[in-house]
Amino acid sequence: MRRASDLAALTGGLVTVALGGLLALDAAGAIRLSFGWLWPALLAAVGAILVASGLAQRDR
């Protein structure tokens, strides 16, 4: 159960760090994060968290 809960928390943390990194790179001018790229990234982030939490709920 502990491992299952950790999976959801770990995925959420990694996804948040990845999104934050993208935004930081965009703010620093290293990449140009357009609106057309931001939406897929946000949807994929939410989707990954949902999948991880669903699998974690199943393993409990």
Binding site: W37, L43, G47, G54, Q57, R60
Partner: protein
Amino acid sequence: MTTAATPTPTPGPGPAPLRRDPARGLLAGVCAGVGERLGVDPMIVRLVVVALTFAGGIGPVLYLLAWIVLPAGPAGPAGAPAAERLRTRPGTWRVAAGVGLLALGALLAFRELGVWFSDAIAWPLVLAAAGAALVWRQSARQRATEAAPTADPPLPGQVEAASREAAVGVYRGGFGVALIVGAALLFLYANGALSGLGEMVLTAVVVVVAAGLILAPFWWGLATNLAAERAERIRSQERAELGAHLHDSVLQTLALVQKRADDPRAVAQLARRQERELRAWLQSGRPAPAPDASLAAGLQAAAAEVEDAHGVPIEVVAVGDAPLDDDTRAVVDAAREALVNAAKFAGEDAPVAVYAEVTDGRVQVFVRDRGAGFDPAAVPPDRRGLRESVVGRMERHGGRAVVHAAPGAGTEVELTLERTP
């Protein structure tokens, strides 16, 4: 004997390896296998593959790769039971929504990369595929529900759940139809087919909305009647099952009691056996489980056996349960021996109680009686029942048995078995 069991969730097998499932697949069983592994409906995986087809044709490529790479799994049962099992697994809808969002993100990313057909084709087809999946899924579920066997009596609350499920099904099917209609209109609009038909489409929409408003009460009434009819059918089956069970158990026992009214011991045994069956039936809605089904079932069977043989009422309380293996079977056998001792030496008027507690790491069983008690140190060496059948048996299986007894204070045999979670 009275029994009370609180089952703990039995840990299921680990996640199945990723394999194709040709038995439930439409083509090679790739989507069915992936759906089984993720625990989502295969229709959702098929929808993702279809959606990726419009992202530069990557869907069929991925499918072919998976077909080549993944081994075929054993043919399993097809149809509604597997779909129902997937649907009722916890977290299924969350995983399905996550897969859908991931697919949508991938589609948008492919679109941004330029690996894309056309907005006028891709999005309407994605919407139509989602709607068709909903309608198809709802239709398949309804067929499965109608074809489901109804031999078992419905559990409490099942009638209300069936009514709720019927109402949710109406909404789900309606949403699927709306998605398909919207996709068709979007396709026509995006391809300019509606440019000259604006007024006609507007008129048609108004007429459809008006017709919907007029017919909505009738549709609602029809759906409600269908749900009520189904609920009544389930109640009727429940009454029939109840009547059959009473005839097979209570009435037969009463007839036996009348026949053997001159034998109080036999009458008491019949009454206790009937009480056991009724309590098991009331608790689970089904007959008592087989003695080798689990630790709790084994303890209950052992208690029933001793109760019948010695005529002493035995109460069994089990908190948690565990599958029977060599070690837990030894606990049951040791508890049976302790029960026999309690029944033989505590006297018929001293009730005997069995309390079992099962956690992830430990099995503990207490056998208590309020009889005369004894001094364990004064037991002659040639009396091997307690020493070998209880203490020795537990030690041979890595457990321990402790006897708490004193003259006049009853006896408690504590059996403990540590387990690896």
